[in-house]
Symmetry: C2
Subunit: 225 residues, 2 copies
DNA sequence: AATATAATTTAGGTATTCCTAAATTATTCT
DNA sequence: AGAATAATTTAGGAATACCTAAATTATATT
């Protein structure tokens, strides 16, 4: 007599977040394996989440998924819950580092923001969990924005990011630091950022090859080859 | 973008437990009101829970529901979780008595037995929650048993419990203390007990008028009228 | 006791999230 | 480049927990 257990939206977002930390889109198959369900089921859910209002992720057939900033915010909230909980359980209930995970995995979905703040405060707002993983702070992700076409590349051309519009010099440094190269087939691009995560998104053309969450700043590129 | 929230089996059991603490069966309508859903929905769920293996409750059309001992065990586990959590949140996170309820309401369903033991131990195994409600201890409810016909009454007859089989003198005192009278139409009966809760069950005849969870001891009665 | 009213269940329908099998699309190999 | 293979999506179906409206059963009134 068990309640049918299905995955929450939070579970999907968290796992997508973890799968995409390289900056590469997550495939439906990889996500399916992680969750232990059939790939077809993931396809369906991903289609739903990508057309939600607001969209929690961007999805392109056969390409994979990337979180929107909204999706990232939700994912990071859960991760923050998880890591704070782990730290707290270890500290107050004598759990060992390896024991806390499953407990936190369940609690992370149900605690309130108030609860989160209380345990964070009770521990002096720690920056890392017992495993040494950083605990993401709140308000790290920028709001989503409408995407805008920026630059056109011919097929097979490559380009390097050279300028970021507006005041976002931070983002520019980030791009330059990565020596980011935009691959061929790219027609228009948008850039989004969170921590080391750098994602490129292309839309509106069938030859698009990269995709990402949502635009946060306009970016200009120089054609290379 | 919200996950559809439906009631868990635990929610049903807990609410039935609370509705039946008088010993009277809970009506589907009362349960529906408590949960904020349509009576028809409760009927369906109750039918399912009563035919589960093992059955978590006994249900008779138009009569209402009572928990089986198995159902009571599950309900008390959740209640124990709830009260321990309330006590713990108040003690360790500075929650006030009125704030803890909602938080505990969510946590109670997801914590492990290990977690439960840890917070109980951390507080020195308290017997009451911050509201003064007793925290049920584990292993309070007896296992379910196959029911057996014990005595036959003619229609309209009444009877008083006079003897309880085997060593259970405690139960006997309990029955006598209540001056329990078995109503008319009763053909065979079984008795179950938890704390002040006393339930009667009748089966196998369409004229049955009382119902209860499951038998725990044989009981003999004397015909009165 | 017969009828009116209220409570409850049944029947049929919706939405959700999973499944499997078939069809499609992408990738790899020769 | 073409064929074989692998990855992914589509289509159709199952289970669950809710809903509303209609049918039934119980209760109250006269």
């Amino acid at each position: 007599m068990e309640q049918t257990l299905t995955f929450s939206i939070q579970d999907y977002l968290k796992n997508i977040y973890e799968l995409t930390d390289s900056g590469e889109p997550a495939t439906t198959t990889a996500l399916a394996e992680r969750l232990g369900i059939a790939p077809a089921s993931v396809t369906g859910m991903v289609q739903k989440l990508s057309t939600a209002k607001p969209p929690l992720l961007k999805y392109r057939k056969h390409q994979g998924v990337m979180l929107t900033n909204e999706g990232q915010r939700a994912a990071l909230e859960v991760i923050r819950h998880h890591r704070l909980l782990e730290a707290w359980l270890v500290k107050t209930l004598g759990y060992s580092w390896d024991e806390v995970h499953n407990e936190a995995e369940k609690l992370e979905h149900v605690i309130s923001e108030d609860f989160e703040k209380r345990i964070a405060a009770a521990m002096g707002n720690p920056e890392r969990d017992p495993h040494g993983e950083p605990i993401p702070s709140e308000d790290l992700v920028m709001p989503d924005d409408e995407s805008v076409a920026l630059v056109n590349l011919e097929s097979k051309q490559e380009a390097v990011v050279c300028r970021v519009e507006a005041q976002d010099t931070d983002l520019l440094k980030h791009l330059e630091g990565l020596g980011l190269v935009i691959g061929a087939h790219v027609k228009t691009l948008e850039v989004s950022r969170y921590d080391q995560v750098m994602q490129l998104q292309v839309r509106g053309r069938k030859e698009a090859v990269v995709l990402g969450p949502a635009v946060t700043s306009r970016v200009y590129v120089e054609v290379v080859a």
